[in-house]
Symmetry: D2
Subunit: 303 residues, 4 copies
């Protein structure tokens, strides 16, 4: 397993100025670079140069997502495995985006573009590497330490899920199945020890349901919710516990209409965990354990 984590998402944000302001001061990401059409951001505890790229665009959505692999040679290995699996790949030269090394790019059956990369400039997490304090001063907003996962949408949930499992070794933590007891409505997949690094749900091809930032604790969720209230952010659902993953969460929208999540908790996932199944009649409980009502927007709005 050499995929380490969801390293990057590039989001399309039509509402340009307001979205930059939002990701910096409401979410609390740190800007590391900006050109005319892009703003590069990182969460405070990430050492890499960026994990979120905002892209000026006409409509909201996900430009691409990228997994960081551990070793440079993984690019070759995975490219070969992808090609053997029947997936076309493309090389993105180093420097195509600021601070990034070379990447391998491909498309999954649900339509999203995924990149793999191992090299990116390190800028540190704002703490010394010798005798660090547990957190730096000067954090603002919700101040998540990390980008955590995302949920992508498309018609062929099974196809994308299978590709991620077979080529990259993702394990399935949980799934929602349709009335037939087999066809997946959604799947939650991990390579790390978190309950999900990526999830896939039935929806419009290429669609994005949400990107999620990690928070440490339930008290951080309340603070995030207060910040949502104070800033008149459009709240979708929460604070609530997911039955799925057991995490506690809030869903809300950035000023461009991309759904964000702040997420904490959830069990420690191991590859020998049995996959948990949710039946379609219990999906409300799976998403929103307290009231069993995910709300209409949750299952119908994508960007």
């Amino acid at each position: 397993m050499t995929i380490m984590r969801l390293g990057r998402v590039q989001l399309r944000v039509p509402n340009w100025e307001e979205s930059i302001e939002y990701y910096k001061n409401v979410i609390g990401l740190i800007e590391t670079y900006r050109d005319e059409n892009h703003v590069y951001l990182k969460a405070w505890d990430e050492h890499d140069h960026h994990s979120v790229i905002l892209e000026k665009a006409d409509s909201a959505g996900l430009d691409h997502l990228a997994f960081k692999v551990r070793f440079d040679e993984d690019l070759d290995t995975y490219e070969k495995k992808l090609n053997e699996y029947g997936v076309a790949t493309e090389r993105i030269p180093a420097g195509t985006r600021v601070a990034e090394g070379e990447a391998v790019r491909f498309q999954v059956p649900t339509g999203q573009y995924i990149e793999l990369y191992s090299q990116i400039e390190k800028v540190g997490n704002g703490l010394p590497l010798v005798n660090p304090a547990p957190w730096p001063d000067g954090l603002v907003g919700m101040a998540p330490p990390r980008l955590d996962h995302l949920l992508i949408a498309g018609e062929d949930v099974e196809g994308t899920t299978k590709l991620l499992q077979e080529v990259f070794g993702f394990s399935m933590a949980e799934r929602v199945v349709l009335e037939d007891g087999e066809t997946p409505l959604a799947t939650w997949l991990f390579v790390s020890n978190k309950a999900h690094d990526i999830a896939v749900i039935k929806g419009p091809n290429g669609g994005l349901h949400h990107i999620a930032f990690y928070l440490e604790e339930w008290s951080d969720i309340r603070k995030a919710a207060d910040i949502i209230g104070k800033n008149n952010i459009s709240l979708d659902k929460g604070p609530v516990r997911h039955g799925i993953t057991r995490g506690t969460t809030i869903y809300f929208f950035d000023p461009s209409g991309n759904r964000n999540e702040v997420f904490c908790g959830g069990y420690i996932a191991y590859h020998d965990n049995p996959t948990i199944t949710w039946t379609i009649d219990n999906v409300g409980e799976g998403i929103s354990f307290f009231d069993k009502d995910p709300g209409e927007r949750f299952t119908t709005v994508f960007s």
Copy 2:
């Protein structure tokens, strides 16, 4: 100021067996006495014999509420003040209900019956009075330490508010005013140092919006919400922060249709605090600070 607290509520519960089970095992109250048509309950940290009486009935609602006063002679004092204020009173003899001393009973303009009492048998809080641990073993359910407050409904919000202020010295922590900037839609009143001991809202006369139990912390709110989910309790709203009182809260319904709340946080109230005003167009924020949407049930369902 000799009213100490909301000492008792008597609730009508048509769904008898299920409601008893619910208050004992979901809320986690302790049964101290039972006759054919009543179950007497207390929260664990209360020393008095009971604070909640369930009454077998044909419809849900509030039979009466009662304030505990500090001194026996307060019964006479308040009876006199009430009569002078133009309110008729009645004496309820000691022993009319189990473990209770004499009470003074009267009706407020919004239609509820209120009793005042100073004597009730003490049964203790399950901890020794010498070298106690901070909490007893064996608590179940949400396990609130205390009954906290209630919200009553009626047409004449101003009348009940004024009576509570003028006869009993309640202070107004907060209020929601209608478009005219003056007429109260609801008022939050305290005699203790909690942001409310009783609140009054426009609604059907004699109506009960909710009774509230006190929880210590935001993590207790999550546990309560988990218990709501695990027991398929009908959740009304939350977890959420109130703009009003700053408390964090969940609203839900007992099996008979009486709304319950678990509540924590909220500022320390003092009588020299200025009254906070909410304008009618911000009432959503006042009730549900995160999403500004209290939901339709919240403002329309009473028992």
Copy 3:
């Protein structure tokens, strides 16, 4: 009962510049006025002009403490009661200190000076009185919403306790008794619904054990402890739970040697609560419930 709260402490701080910096940026109080030898500070959720006055001095300690009473006429009433009780009083004219009205001053048997006042300029809590958010932006440090209580020392614990009970109507929440089962080593007294507004412990006459600031929750205690660690503040004890009051707490020293506490939790106190007694052999548990060891400094160092 018309004493509302511990309204003010005036502390002697020999380490002048560093102490000002500490109370403003580590504790997170807000400066409202300064003259050559005094800095006036308030906690964010207090409406009054100040609750802590730092006084340039040669040695640490408590200059005086003051209770805010509810009504102007309480000054006369309490002065008369004090005189009848055999305690001499003095009038401190309005304007002797900035923003304050007239005060009545007297000395308790343990040697401290206490003032009573009803008038002080109001400056607000940084939030609007109409449709306020739950907290203001720009808070720094531990950011307690309020000054909470203090613990004073002296030989005649019984004398000061009795005076506070008989003249002002304080109730005793808890006490530690010596081997004889009667003589108090310390008493915890309240007029509000908090487990203590003032406490008295055997020690040097006129001594101060600590002043305490209120925090809302256990997660705030951890943040306060992190700030203690980040700023190299001298920590005395904690985070720990008190057996006494059930509160969770940290004790630490300001740069001048005055002990501070941040405190949260503790039960809601009512005047009809039975007094809890701690025997001298369980005092360790009473102070430090987890490890039963308050440490040597805790019981020997006063300012």
Copy 4:
């Protein structure tokens, strides 16, 4: 990387009956099997048959620890790598202990015996695999969901660290170095995404500093501390935050003298994280961030 986690510790417990009672009712582990000299226990969210084996013995200490590997063939692979590295191995036949498959056993330079295994009977986590609630009813004590990590002691910290890194691919999250800036006093190693799965510290060969159980949140730490206080458990240190790993923690002793830890928080570790170094003069801060004083016992008592 196919080591998944610290799967098992076998502890020697001279104080037999009291230790069993302690691990079941104070820690809150679940007994799955018992013979005359052994009790098998699991934490609630573990699916495997056991993670802790108590062994009746004359003295406290660690009999062995075991890592669960992902695939059966990993046993061969790692045995070969160990032998090539110059470490002798032994096969432990399936069924030597209840519910376990075959294991590879070897000794590290610091003297501990480590086993590798892939097969163990699964008994589930008390929740259904279809539509599960977030937690089961009936949990007792501190109720950690999982065994988390351990800290072993010995002379050759460098040797054991190097073996774990080179044979098994552990990464070093943090280390404490002696005055020379190089020689490790202790190292923190991970293969998962937790800040440590095993740590190694200078001390008596074969020694055990502590085993640690995972808790989800700071509020669980307070509950654990309350349980320590209520049960008169010998507390060593905490609640406190580690500078190292940023985790929050309590150390305490089982009735046989083995040190236990409950641990929560800590950053998400990735293999590309830079190693953090603590200098020997800051080790107090590394262990006990709030007061910078780990206490004498912490660095001198091993079992």
